[in-house]
């Protein structure tokens, strides 16, 4: 029960403090890895949620929820992720015209964006560093996939799948 409450609070917090699905990865890493899930489970969760169709953020949440507390955990994480945007949207649609002139909310979110980007860079480094080996193989895989994704010619999920297969074949 304690863990479910903890899950609920974490996902509520993460969804209030991140501007979009993929942006929640950094914060989620800090809140869960080493406490609720292992590094490997987290990498699996991020990899999978970008491979499967549908909202990344929700899949990430459910996978972590499931890893922590089984099916109830998955649903708790889902509900906690949905709650903040739903309440906000319902509120916003009601007072839409008034809110449009509220610059401070927009400024708050604009201030979040650079900090979230920085947090994600830290997270990326940690995942890379602890991902098993930081030998030349890992650097090669990392740099090639970075180039492939940044070029926007190869879909990210294809890159993720290929690197996993390469790992399964060569890194064992």
């Amino acid at each position: 029960m304690d863990q479910l409450l903890q899950l609920f609070w974490i996902f509520l917090k993460v969804n209030l403090l991140s501007t979009s699905g993929p942006a929640s990865v950094g914060l989620l890493y800090h809140e869960t890895v080493g406490k609720l899930v292992t590094e490997a489970q987290f990498v699996q969760a991020v990899g999978l949620s970008s491979v499967l169709p549908g909202s990344d953020a929700l899949q990430l949440a459910m996978y972590i929820g499931y890893a922590v507390g089984g099916i109830p955990g998955g649903f708790v994480a889902l509900i906690a992720s949905i709650l903040p945007p739903t309440v906000i949207i319902l509120g916003v649609t009601v007072i839409l015209s008034r809110l449009r002139r509220q610059a401070w909310i927009s400024n708050f979110v604009d201030g979040l964006a650079p900090a979230i980007s920085v947090l994600m860079l830290f997270t990326a480094w940690k995942i890379f560093e602890k991902g098993g080996s930081t030998g030349w193989e890992a650097w090669a895989i990392g740099l090639v996939s970075l180039a492939a994704m940044a070029s926007e010619k190869i879909p990210e999920r294809i890159v993720i799948i290929i690197t996993g297969v390469i790992g399964a074949i060569f890194l064992s």
Binding site: N15, L17, S18, S20, G21, P22, V25, G26, A40, V43, G47, L48, S50, V51, L52, P53, G54, S55, D56, L58, Q59, M62, Y66, G74, S81, P85, T86, I88, I89, V92, T93, W104, I105, N107, F108, V109, D110, G111, L112, A113, P114, I116, S117, M120, L121, A124, I127, A138, G142, S145, E156, R157, V159, I160, T163, G164, V165, G167, L171, S172
Partner: protein, 182 residues
Amino acid sequence: MKTSKFYVWFRLLWMFLKVNILSPSGPASIGLLYKEAVGKIMTEERFVEAVGFSNFLPGSEALKLAMFVGFAAGGVPGVFTALLGAIIPPTILMLIVSVILQRLQHENWLDSFVAGMSPAVAALIVVVAFQLFRASSRKKVDHRILLIAVSSAAAFWLEVPSPAVLIGAGILGIILFGRRQS
């Protein structure tokens, strides 16, 4: 043209099921959603407004966008219909995959699969971080944004709890960006 409420709800549910099965992530769904919704259940202007608002409020982009479109087409019940359509596909998929993966947790090949995937996942996060940095609604990277980025980097380095850093960055945003507008 008069259509029944139920028809609109059904249409919404089907549309979001389709969009969420076909698109890999939140931002990717915008293009598909545009084709499905604009001109049929909402105007272009409303759609642009929905995209704008989902960038500007906290929480998952894809969900907020879905709910805005739902509201435009069917009011508050439309919001819930859209939410349902957006949640069902990832939930079912993820539950199946989670159950399978937990069973495989101690297989050796899975460890190597994850070891290979880690650098790519790190690269993915870098790419998204960069996109986010560039796409934040201020078009130009000015000294304010750099100031926030550098000071939050310092705070993370000193291991200040990350929610505190983010809230601080938001408040810094209100202070710095607010001054320019007044």
